[in-house]
């Protein structure tokens, strides 16, 4: 999904999506452009809060994947159908 694709229906979902994609791609040019769009659309404080969430979620996945933790039973039960539809079980590397 690229920044020109808007599918979330979330307020400002398009600019937020471009922001997170640019940061995770470690692309300074795209990040600067996306940052300006977030600030223009949502304001400086919202941009900082979005940056903080994106930074945090550069941690949790790495912590999970580095230690091989599985889904908790309750989460696994709640997402069985979705994981089957997406074929996520095939990606289990543990």
């Amino acid at each position: 999904m690229g920044e020109d694709v808007v599918v979330s229906g979330l307020p400002h979902g398009d600019v937020l999506n471009a922001f997170v994609e640019a940061i995770c791609a470690r692309d300074p040019g795209r990040t600067a452009q996306a940052r300006r769009k977030v600030v223009d659309a949502m304001g400086m404080a919202a941009m900082a809060d979005a940056a903080a969430v994106i930074a945090a979620f550069n941690a949790y996945p790495r912590m999970a994947d580095a230690t091989g933790i599985p889904l908790e039973d309750a989460k696994a039960a709640a997402t069985t159908e979705m994981r089957q539809e997406l074929g996520l079980e095939a990606l289990n590397t543990a």
Partner: protein, 245 residues
């Protein structure tokens, strides 16, 4: 005393700025198993990883084991450490029990692996945040003197993944509070083999995201984006890293 993040190019929430400043100082202080110099070397290696030719080639390959060679390291840390740091920084979605076992066979103690993972993660997190807000990551302080205690926790055992952790039901009186408020999520448990270090990491993460994700919407929290927008960003970042936890 002014903190490193007081120079941010925009006003930060007070709690977040203070957490970033605490983290900045702690990265140079002795941890549970690494001294200040080693921790700073881990940060430097994590920041160097995007320039590693092996990491770049591996990222393009169908398997991280399809490409042979050595990492372009900075020469400060042993090869096994460099592999842990680079893979956590650059290809975390394809980490495996095999990778973890290779680090141990490469001479790393499991406690060292966990602290190295934690410090490398913090380097990535800080750099993601500063890049996002248009700030250069501030220079780190010189290593603080002191030696790590290097005390292996007898209350840790392997699981729920391939790493040793301290389960809520096994946590001693000095650590049981870490699981207060029913915060028994596996992700919170993931790096508990090194309790002091995991407290440091969560002291940062709690302010970047939130301390208790069970909150209804954002009750009592000061944020300028909605809970739905936060969860959207969380899901997209996780997917982009290839994480399906």
């Amino acid at each position: 005393m002014a903190g490193a993040y007081d120079a941010a190019p925009l006003p930060l929430r007070q709690d977040l700025g203070e957490a970033l400043n605490r983290n900045h100082e702690r990265l140079a202080q002795p941890g549970c198993w690494l001294d200040g110099s080693q921790r700073l070397a881990v940060v430097a290696e994590a920041r160097h990883a995007p320039d590693c030719a092996l990491c770049q080639a591996s990222a393009e390959a169908i398997s991280p084991y399809a490409v042979a060679g050595a990492h372009d390291g900075l020469g400060e840390l042993p090869g096994a450490w460099v592999d842990v740091i680079h893979r956590v920084a650059m290809d975390s979605g394809r980490l495996s029990a095999r990778w973890y076992g290779e680090a141990r066979r490469g001479g790393m103690l499991e406690d060292e692996i966990i602290e190295v993972i934690s410090v490398a993660v913090q380097a990535v997190v800080i750099d993601s945040f500063t890049a996002a807000i248009g700030m250069d990551s501030p220079p780190l302080p010189p290593p603080a003197p002191g030696r790590p205690a290097r005390h292996h926790r007898s209350d840790a055992k392997t699981g729920p993944g391939w790493a040793m952790t301290i389960a809520p039901e096994d946590a001693g009186p000095d650590f049981a509070d870490f699981y207060d408020n029913d915060s028994h999520f596996y992700i919170r448990r993931s790096l508990t083999l090194v309790p002091q270090e995991t407290r440091r990491l969560w002291d940062l993460l709690n302010h970047l995201y939130m301390e208790d994700p069970r909150l209804h919407e954002l009750d009592g929290m000061e944020r300028d984006i909605s809970r739905a927008q936060m969860e959207f960003l969380a899901a997209r970042a996780s997917a982009l890293l290839g994480c399906y936890y």
